[in-house]
């Protein structure tokens, strides 16, 4: 890791300009793109995530580090073939039908992306049919649903049922979250996991897929 010390520091600080320059420096010095990604960027983001979950840093700092990493990754993109970059898993996420709130859902999306998941974000007011249709298309490992209003919670079991009817339920893990949602509710509607906040959404997703 010490070979990317300056890059690591820049990602931790969220210094986008320096991080991009250091990524370029590493490429110019002949470093392998995969190792820059693994040892320079992903390893650093794991450390940032760890510091966040220990409450040593704040959300905007963590998000800035994630943004810094994404900017650096763009520079590495040309060195990878399509499908080369390994993802922790594919996540299809959205706020359920009837609900237009998206701050929490967006935060979960960003943190999952920062942690190495591939995200397809369907936005808000996503009907069960739309979840199913997109699930058929992107074949996600996880479908994640959010609701802020208690009156829209029933759209969660409806979506699970729709996935079932489409024959997708066995291949997909379902996660739910949002202010009125509880662990007990997740069990009732046979979701596979419940997360109380964005940080735990990442660790629950990793646990569901057995990745670290």
């Amino acid at each position: 890791m010490s070979e990317f010390k300056a890059l690591t520091e820049a990602v931790v600080k969220g210094d986008i300009k320096t991080a991009i320059a250091e990524t370029q420096n590493a490429l110019d010095a002949g470093s392998n793109a995969q190792s820059i990604l693994d040892k320079g960027l992903i390893a650093t983001m794991d450390e940032v995530g760890e510091r966040f979950s220990k409450r040593l840093i704040f959300v905007p700092q963590m998000l800035r580090s994630a943004k810094t990493m994404q900017e650096c990754t763009k520079l590495l993109q040309p060195f990878f073939q399509e499908g080369d970059v390994t993802s922790k898993g594919k996540v299809l996420i959205g706020t359920v039908k009837g609900d237009l709130h998206d701050i929490g859902k967006n935060l979960v999306s960003m943190m999952m992306e920062g942690a190495g998941f591939t995200i397809t974000d369907l936005g808000v007011d996503v009907s069960p049919e739309k979840f199913v249709q997109k699930a058929q298309e992107v074949e996600p490992d996880i479908v994640a649903m959010s609701a802020l209003l208690s009156t829209t919670m029933p759209a969660m079991p409806q979506t699970i049922e729709a996935l079932q009817k489409a024959g997708l339920r066995d291949k997909i893990r379902v996660m739910i979250g949002g202010a009125p949602v509880t662990e007990k509710y997740a069990q009732q509607i046979t979701a596979d996991s419940y997360a109380s906040d964005a940080g735990s959404a990442v660790s629950k997703a990793k646990k569901l897929l057995g990745v670290s």
Partner: protein, 479 residues
């Protein structure tokens, strides 16, 4: 000669700051615009001079907003269910009450946090009914044992059955609010009575930044047409729905309120609208919206200043809540901080009393404690009357020059004045150590638990007539 008593008052903005925030709010509406998803409201705004683009994006000229500010009534009065004017919401009058939609409650018997049920709404309403300083009830629960489609109708009916105080209620859309309205009409004997002496106020929320969903606007238009008082804050909490800096979050929240007010006044000029944007903070570690932070108290004190400088409309506020998970020292500190500041800044309708866990858990003990903290704040805000009787020079002379055994405690002046001159706590303990120990060495949480249980078992809520109860049941059963 009578010396007027100065009553302590908190001021956090000067006139220039107040005007700058108001101007920024108008600029947001005129230059940035907002998304209006209710076709009827969109049409009204366009007809009045709003500029519509991309289907439902509206920019609103400042004069439209100023017109709405002029036509909205400067005073709103809420009545209890027996027709007494108990909540005149005019400048300077603070009224406290509970909050809505908690997912959990602290069980009165076990002390454990558990999922709320309909019975909890009944208990909170009865407790509010029995507490002197709680002026109105909200549900304090999103119960798991009622059908979710009609959840707000059921909690409203439950509140009506368990208190005669005014009720602040939640609804989902134009559909359930009509049922709730029907129940309210049953209680007071018809639409006209309800319009004359409203005992209900609706709380609805748009979505920050600048989004006005159809179901929310249905409620706003319904309330305007029926002249049910309403307030319509958004989630413009600093760092979440709004900029992290408080001035920007307030400007956005006020702009969103002004959209609501404009639609509301276009729908029915002169209908009552309670102003208030709810500007708390999104906690930068946990991402919860804080209910114990100093910022929320600060922004509502600022709103009170803007009210006094510009709007003149009564305002919506929060207090008596906490981010603590149990009713501990943090809960007490945060509750008192917001209760005294809401009063010192003269907020009008102050809700959320009794919430723990950033509004996710309700606690009967917390409401009971807050009742005493409100009393304490009222005493403080009353100031110090200065006159011949209170300066008591004659008493000083009498006691000082009296013989041995002459003490103030024995003087008639003490007997005549002590009940008004001092704050006499009921739950806050000042007993000597030995008697405290003898009485069970209880902390405030335990004492509040006992008091809450006592009120729930002793306090009689004047019941509704059989006719009203049958009417409510019919409405609940109707599809």
């Amino acid at each position: 000669m009578e010396i007027p008593t100065f009553q302590p008052r908190l001021k956090v903005l000067n006139r220039e700051q107040a005007l700058a925030i108001h101007t920024a709010a108008l600029e947001i509406l005129e230059k940035i615009g907002f998304k209006m998803e209710h076709p009827g409201a969109l049409e009204m705004l366009a007809g009045a001079g709003g500029k519509v683009s991309n289907g439902n994006w509206v920019k609103l000229p400042a004069y439209l907003v100023e017109e709405a500010l002029t036509s909205a009534p400067k005073q709103i009065a809420l009545y209890d269910q027996k027709g007494n004017k108990t909540m005149p919401l005019v400048n300077g009058n603070p009224f406290y009450g509970t909050g809505s939609d908690a997912t959990f409650t602290l069980d009165l018997e076990t002390g454990q946090r558990r999922r709320v049920v309909l019975k909890d709404t009944a208990n909170f309403a009865r407790l509010v009914d029995g507490l002197e300083n709680m002026a109105f009830a909200m549900s304090m629960a999103n119960p798991e044992d009622v059908p979710i489609e009609d959840i707000y109708v059921h909690v409203f009916a439950e509140m009506v059955k368990n208190t005669n105080k005014p009720i602040v209620f939640i609804a989902d859309s134009g559909k359930d609010i009509a049922k709730i309205y029907e129940i309210a009409c049953q209680v007071v004997g018809g639409e006209e009575n309800l319009r004359q002496k409203p005992f209900i106020l609706n709380y609805s929320e748009a979505i920050s930044p600048l989004r006005f969903p159809e179901n929310v606007m249905q409620k706003l238009v319904f309330c305007a047409e029926k002249r049910i008082p309403i307030c319509l804050p958004s989630g413009s909490n600093a760092g979440g729905g709004a900029p992290v800096t408080l001035a920007g979050a307030m400007a956005l929240g006020i702009a969103e309120n002004l959209v609501g007010l404009s639609v509301h006044q276009l729908a029915n000029k002169g209908a009552p609208f309670l102003f208030g944007p709810n500007v708390s903070v999104l906690d930068m570690k946990s991402t919860v919206v804080s209910y114990g932070c100093p910022e929320w108290s600060l922004t509502q004190a600022a709103l009170a200043d803007i009210r006094d400088e510009i709007y003149g409309l009564p305002i919506w506020a929060f207090a008596g809540a906490s981010d603590a998970k149990v009713m501990d020292a943090q809960a007490g500190a945060e509750a008192m901080f917001s209760i005294i500041n809401a009063m010192l800044s003269r907020a009008n309708l102050i809700h959320d009393v009794g919430f723990l866990e950033y509004g996710s858990t309700s606690s009967l003990e917390m409401v009971t404690m807050a009742d005493e903290l409100v009393a304490m704040s009222r005493f403080f805000t009353g100031g110090i009357p200065v006159n011949g009787e209170t300066l008591a020079l004659e008493v000083i002379e009498r006691v000082a020059s009296g013989g041995p055994g002459s003490i103030f405690l024995m003087d008639d002046h003490t007997f005549e004045h002590f009940m008004q001159a001092q704050f006499l706590p009921k739950l806050l303990d000042r007993s000597r150590y030995d008697s405290w120990e003898e009485a069970g060495a209880m902390d405030l949480y335990q004492r509040c638990n006992i008091e809450a249980k006592r009120i729930l078992s002793d306090h009689q809520v004047e019941p509704k007539t059989d006719k009203v109860l049958q009417g409510i049941d019919q409405i609940l059963q109707a599809k």
